[in-house]
């Protein structure tokens, strides 16, 4: 049985375990119909031209874990930003781990999607927001919607800001030979409220993992959202991340994506500017080796006038790794005075590495500033010589230059401990000790 058929038959089993009378289930059923119709995307589709899901579909994934698995905090501590205090929403093989988590209902809701989707007190909010910005026809998003049951639910009321950042971590224990995880997150940040979120997916063994995640973010007027995605997973773990952001007037949303590992990573990051004076920022640092593959697909839809968007993706590809950057910017006819910037710079440090970079601008307004730039190159030989002539060995000099190349993306990281952590990850990924904390 192929994966699509298995998913279709699993849906019936899934229905035995959820409240099919709840309005959310109508949404699931509609979504399932769409997935049945479309199936997994193929390379024939323009958006999937450079990323193949064929080999993934041959894996016999468990759709639901057979049993609840537990982890000891000391064994997974290093995956948390443990230098600082944080709220934690932790899942083990897709199941919420109350033992590893720290949630709250004190003025803000930092808790579980399963609660939000079932308890009557959340119904009003769910009816307004659930599946409202996520695509209703993109097949993998609808696959996630069909099976949506668990994930993080974050609701920050007007003028509020949680006391500390929120970490959302998904662990895969390897107790299943291979597992499919489909977390569903909903983040609602009301007027003038603020939140910082760090998300991570971590497989703890070399067993195969496929995560098909959907996150919906709603930023109301003047809201501020900082979302950090750390993708440094095992070589047998693949991630399809579908993130949808709905922004209202004067809101400020930044998504940073750090892609340092995993077998196949696809980031579908979509911003919809439903208001004026909005700022949307997408930043990415990608450092890959081996046969890893990352595909960054971004979309910014400028729907109203006077908004800005900033995209800055820096990537370093080594060994036989492959990368894709596809940045789409749509500026509607009424979206005058739009400022849209897009930058994608790539360094290939191996002859076998490849990158496909494609800016895609559709501009229907006439008074806008849009710029895009894309570079693909090697390390600057003059710069390398400069560092070597100061006594820095070639390997370290290369690492230092690669670090410098990726660095400006880190400047906008607003959690200092996270910045330090990312710096160290970069140094480790580049395989050198630079002799100081960058």
């Amino acid at each position: 049985m192929d994966l699509k058929d298995k998913l279709i038959s699993s849906f019936m089993a899934f229905e035995n375990n959820v409240d099919i009378e709840h309005s959310v289930h109508d949404v699931r059923t509609e979504a399932m119909k769409n997935f049945e119709l479309k199936g997994f995307p193929t390379k024939k589709e323009e958006a999937w031209k450079y990323t193949s899901l064929n080999s993934i579909q041959k894996v016999d994934f468990s759709i639901f874990p057979r049993e609840e698995n537990t982890l000891e905090y000391k064994d997974v501590k290093k995956y948390f930003l443990h230098e600082i205090d944080s709220y934690k929403i932790v899942f083990v093989d897709g199941i919420y781990s109350s033992y590893l988590s720290e949630t709250t209902h004190d003025g803000v809701d930092i808790c579980l999607m399963s609660a939000a989707l079932t308890k009557p007190m959340y119904k009003a909010v769910i009816d307004v927001y659930f599946n409202k910005v996520a695509s209703k026809d993109e097949s993998l998003t609808t696959l996630n919607t069909a099976f949506s049951r668990e994930g993080a639910y974050i609701y920050i009321p007007k003028n509020k800001m949680p006391k500390k950042p929120i970490e959302i971590i998904h662990f895969a224990t390897g107790n299943e030979a291979s597992i499919l995880l489909q977390p569903r997150n909903l983040v609602i940040v009301e007027e003038n409220a603020e939140v910082q979120i760090i998300e991570r997916h971590q497989s703890l063994t070399s067993n195969e993992v496929l995560t098909n995640s959907v996150t919906e973010i709603f930023a109301a007027k003047s809201a501020i959202v900082d979302y950090y995605k750390i993708q440094n997973d095992a070589a047998t773990a693949s991630l399809i991340d579908n993130t949808y952001v709905d922004q209202k007037d004067k809101s400020l949303v930044k998504v940073h994506t750090f892609s340092f590992g995993g077998k196949l990573t696809r980031n579908n990051l979509n911003f919809y500017q439903n208001g004026e004076y909005i700022d949307s920022t997408m930043k990415g640092v990608t450092i890959l080796g081996d046969k890893q593959h990352v595909d960054h697909h971004t979309l910014v839809h400028h729907i109203q006038p006077n908004c800005e968007s900033h995209q800055d993706y820096k990537s370093i590809y080594g060994d036989s790794s492959t990368g894709v950057f596809n940045g789409k910017i749509i500026v509607d006819k009424i979206a005058q005075k739009t400022n849209a910037f897009q930058q994608n710079n790539n360094i290939l440090v191996s002859d076998k590495a490849t990158i496909n970079s494609k800016p895609q601008l559709e501009i229907f307004a006439d008074d806008v500033k849009c710029s895009h730039g894309c570079t693909i190159g090697q390390l600057d030989e003059d710069a390398l010589f400069y560092l070597q002539s100061r006594g820095i060995p070639k390997k370290e000099a290369r690492a230092l230059l690669m670090y410098a190349f990726a660095n400006n993306v880190l400047e906008s990281v607003r959690i200092p401990e996270l910045k330090t952590r990312i710096n160290r990850l970069i140094a480790k990924k580049l395989g050198v000790n630079l002799g100081f904390d960058l």
Binding site: D380, E381, D382, A383, F385, Y386, L387, Q388, S389, R390, G391, I392, P393, K394, E396, A397, L400, L401, Y403, A404, N407, N408, L410, L434, G435, F436, L438
Partner: protein, 250 residues
């Protein structure tokens, strides 16, 4: 200290140095002058070991040791320093961190432990004061957004930190106003000793008023066409290079 014999070097099959002979002893200051395109910067890069240049004939020896198979970093560890005409910008790496890395890599090559942080701070303070460099400057990203003069001063600061045996200053005077020139030259003079040597590459005599050379060499078409004492620099300043070009053509 440095002995260059019949040095020929090419880049992409184009010969730039065509038989250079030069000997620099410890305690000496040599100036290399010459018109644009004569090969001055190439000579500096070849001594420092830039791989882009291929040495096709002859040799460069440092303290009796042939440098042919020696990488730029190994040359640095042996005490060669090149002050760049165009220092490279490295965003995200502060001047201080860069110097820490450079110094500790050199120490590692000599089998020494990292320099203790306390000593490093003291050294940085001492050398930055000597070159009248603001402490804030040291936490800025290396060369990024530096003015021409700041870049050159920073090069000499690095030289002061690394205390090389042989320092090559490639057009360190370009982009400097007269005050900055004086500070930089004073710095170089303070670092001079009977145990080290300096090669100053310049277009103009101006810098040589401050860093007084023992010998002046004129490079033209990849060869040293004339050598003399410091008065040769004055003569060049007065007459330009044309008379020399004619003289060598004859």
């Amino acid at each position: 200290m440095l002995k260059i014999e019949n040095l020929h070097a090419s880049v992409e099959d184009k010969e730039i140095l065509r038989g250079i002979n030069l000997e620099v002893k410890a305690g000496e200051v040599h100036a290399i002058m010459g018109p644009n395109g004569s090969g001055k910067s190439t000579l500096a890069s070849v001594i420092a070991g830039k791989e882009e240049f291929e040495v096709t004939e002859g040799s460069v020896q440092l303290e009796g040791e042939d440098l042919e198979e020696t990488s730029p970093e190994e040359r640095a560890h042996k005490g060669v320093f090149l002050s760049f005409q165009y220092p490279v910008e490295i965003p995200g790496v502060s001047v201080t961190n860069f110097m820490k890395t450079a110094i500790n890599e050199s120490r590692k090559a000599r089998g020494l432990e990292d320099m203790p942080a306390k000593d490093m701070l003291k050294l940085i303070r001492e050398k930055s004061e000597m070159l009248e460099i603001d402490r804030k400057f040291l936490s800025r990203s290396l060369n990024q957004g530096f003015s021409g003069g700041e870049k050159k001063r920073n090069e000499i600061f690095q030289m002061a930190m690394l205390e090389p045996k042989l320092a090559i200053l490639d057009e360190t005077d370009s982009g400097l106003d007269i005050d900055a020139l004086r500070i930089v030259a004073n710095g170089v003079n303070k670092l001079k000793s009977k145990d080290n040597a300096v090669i100053v590459i310049t277009h103009y005599q101006r810098l040589l008023d401050y860093i007084v050379p023992d010998f002046v060499h004129v490079l033209h078409n990849g060869k040293i066409v004339k050598s003399g004492g410091k008065e040769l620099a004055l003569e060049l300043e007065e007459k330009g290079y044309d008379w020399l070009k004619q003289e060598t053509a004859v």
